[in-house]
Symmetry: C2
Subunit: 196 residues, 2 copies
């Protein structure tokens, strides 16, 4: 199922096509594709080239998949259990070179995950990020060291049939995509003054 | 000047080509291109579809450009003064629906700016984000309201000649791109255990 953004201005196909479905096909992501996804994250920009992103990765055909699945809130487990790969993105919260706080750690993880998600789109893979996971459980399960912070959980797979979803999720899957218009978030000269 | 990432695995051309130069050509970004850039940011994913991103935008042919330029640290002003457009990305730090803190505000601004930067790449425009700016000055100059936080400054333009840069900047412009290998940031089963 495709759900291209109803754009008001031209946008590259890859960006227009990216969305966050919950229905996954029963098809694995092979090694080459998984490496490509992570490679695209690798080449993101970051403050002082710190590269604060880390990824914990579990494939469905491994024992580890259920451990990661159980870190999600129950409402996410019900659909993310059909993902081919689960990940958690993690941020290093300080700079390696001087241990000072990196104000842009979460931001730069976002830059990396965005590249990963567009690479996924280019390979026909879909991705859904979740804030709904147990941060403490991730830290305990994976022994995430101090100074690192789990950011989001990520479900990846090839697109599946929305009809396989429970009613409430199917409804969200089929609902139109919406965003605020540019005039509400693009300002010039002073706050709230829309760019003409 | 192109500087494609020396990738270890296949990556889409758009992602591979994206980089952060400091040399800009003396060529304006027209309205259609500017709207496309912002539109690509608009369609990013965000936690609860909050869309925490805001952009303050100044074009070089406006009085406002110098006001924004003066918010940058001097080391960035010397090259960013040749940008065609300057922006500051700003994050809404709470959820609109309940005023609770949005842990993913900076992260989601990163998702949006990444899409903006890849849209720029597709249009032959380059973009350089900066942490080096005066947050308080941005807030004062643009009357950024409480609950919003300036994230990065962004210089945009068409690529220029690196020879026009000062020696130290030209050296950085021409230096090879580098990132840590995947085994240092992709883990499975437990922290530090590389994915095979």
């Amino acid at each position: 199922m495709d759900k291209p953004a109803p754009v008001a201005h031209d946008v590259h196909d890859l960006i227009r096509a990216r969305w966050s479905p919950r229905a996954f096909a029963d098809r694995p992501i092979d090694d080459a594709a998984l490496r490509s996804l992570l490679e695209s994250a690798r080449w993101a920009a970051s403050c002082f080239n710190e590269q604060p992103w880390r990824f914990i990765v579990a494939r469905r055909d491994t024992d580890d998949f259920n451990r990661l699945l159980e870190c999600l809130v129950p409402g996410n487990q019900v659909w993310a259990n059909r993902a081919s790969v689960l990940m958690v993105s993690v941020a290093r919260m300080t700079f390696t070179r001087n241990d000072k706080p990196n104000r842009h750690a979460f931001h730069d993880v976002g830059l990396a995950v965005s590249q990963l998600s567009l690479q996924a789109t280019s390979l026909g893979i879909v991705l859904h990020q979740m804030a709904g996971f147990d941060r403490d459980k991730v830290i305990a399960t994976y022994k995430v060291p101090e100074g690192f912070e789990p950011v989001t959980a990520i479900a990846l797979g090839y697109p599946g049939d929305p009809e396989a979803l429970a009613d409430d999720l199917r409804e969200r899957e089929l609902a139109p995509r919406s965003r605020m218009p540019q005039k509400e978030f693009v300002f010039t000269k002073s706050w709230g003054h829309s760019l003409d």
